[in-house]
């Protein structure tokens, strides 16, 4: 009876512990996202300053994927961004990918604006039209100097 009690207690403890660990890992660590329900797609930007792997990919403001990898192409000096997009989401071949900032001081994310084309991009294909991250600093200084 006593042994049984210990076993039950340990069993419950272990299961509950793993559940709460899983909760934290999945909810916060985004472990669950990396699975088979996504497909990769790429985009090339001239400036992705501030974008980090794991950043959101949004359409109409709704999260549809995550940035998986950011590399520099050492020849063209351009940033190549690999994204994982949810299976159900079709991305047209004239969609525009832009690097945006959430709020003014928030994180960078990638916004995909829908196009008008009927052609849907396949796995690993590249979004042609991109808008790089806005350089607020540059804009402001340009604004002021041009005013002169």
């Amino acid at each position: 009876m006593q042994k049984f009690n210990v076993e039950a207690a340990v069993g419950i403890f272990l299961i509950a512990g793993f559940l709460s660990f899983a909760y934290i890992a999945i909810k916060m660590g985004d472990i669950g996202f990396i699975g088979g329900d996504n497909y990769p797609i790429q985009a090339v930007f001239t400036n992705v300053s501030g974008l980090k792997p794991g950043a959101q990919v949004e359409m109409a403001g709704v999260a549809v994927g995550k940035v998986d990898e950011i590399k520099i192409n050492p020849d063209t000096y351009q940033a190549v961004v690999k994204m994982m997009v949810k299976k159900g989401i079709k991305i047209q071949d004239d969609s525009i990918a832009s690097v945006k900032t959430a709020g003014i001081i928030g994180d960078k994310y990638i916004k995909i604006s829908p196009g008008a084309s009927d052609v849907i991009l396949e796995q690993n294909s590249v979004i042609r039209d991109t808008e790089s991250a806005l350089d607020l600093e540059e804009l402001v200084s340009k604004y002021i100097f041009e005013k002169k």
Binding site: V6, E7, A9, V10, F13, A16, I24, M28
Partner: protein, 263 residues
Amino acid sequence: MNFLQPFEKIGELALDKLAFAGRMGIFLAMSIKNLFLPPYKLWPVINQINFIGSKSVFVIMFTGAFTGMVLALQGYYALRQFGSEGALGSAVGLSLIRELGPVLTALMVTGRAGSAICAEIGIMRNSEQLDALECMAIDPFKFLIVPKFIGALICLPLLTSFFDFMGVYGGYVIAVKLLGVNEGAYFQGMFKSVIWDDINMGIIKSFCFAVIIIWVCAGRGYFLHFEKEGFGAEGVSRVTTKAVVMSSVAILVWDYLITSMLI
């Protein structure tokens, strides 16, 4: 010769401390060695999980909830000044997962299980039970210490998860239900700002703390007979107190070192 006496005293003290450190080092080495030696028995480990883990669950959940509540309360009034109550979830989540979860869990486990382990082994040392084990040709490390190490290594991350979980919901109750912070901002902000690296840091910390707790507490109990005042009930309780303090301090020191390495 008299002028040498102060030096002698300092030297003696230093050698004493050195020998203590050495004993503890040997203790850890022996434990690790025995960790990988057969036979592997399941039942003692289950018992230790029960003792270190199951029996600490309520304390951990309780302290976790209250820690989350305090964090939410303090954070709310701090962030409100900048109109960024929305960052509350992120602040609570990061503090819990990175710092307070592992550290406070480890401190509570030290207080509850670590002190009991130190007292248990100390009493075994005092009442010759360890000698008796040796005489039966049973290795005390294999029989006593290794299950505790394994148990702690399994339990601490889980207890830390409990703590974090309760802290998140304790903070939720205060922030969202009591102070009216936006629920979506609380949770989504938390989920977004906590990344896997943070959770990883928490896990690494709790593994380290598990080793520290068992090492310090079991080790001090095991070497009770080397302590000057280690006799009788008072001796055991005095050494237990020392072990708890030492383990708590070690936890804080390591916490800093791990943080500075992983951040």
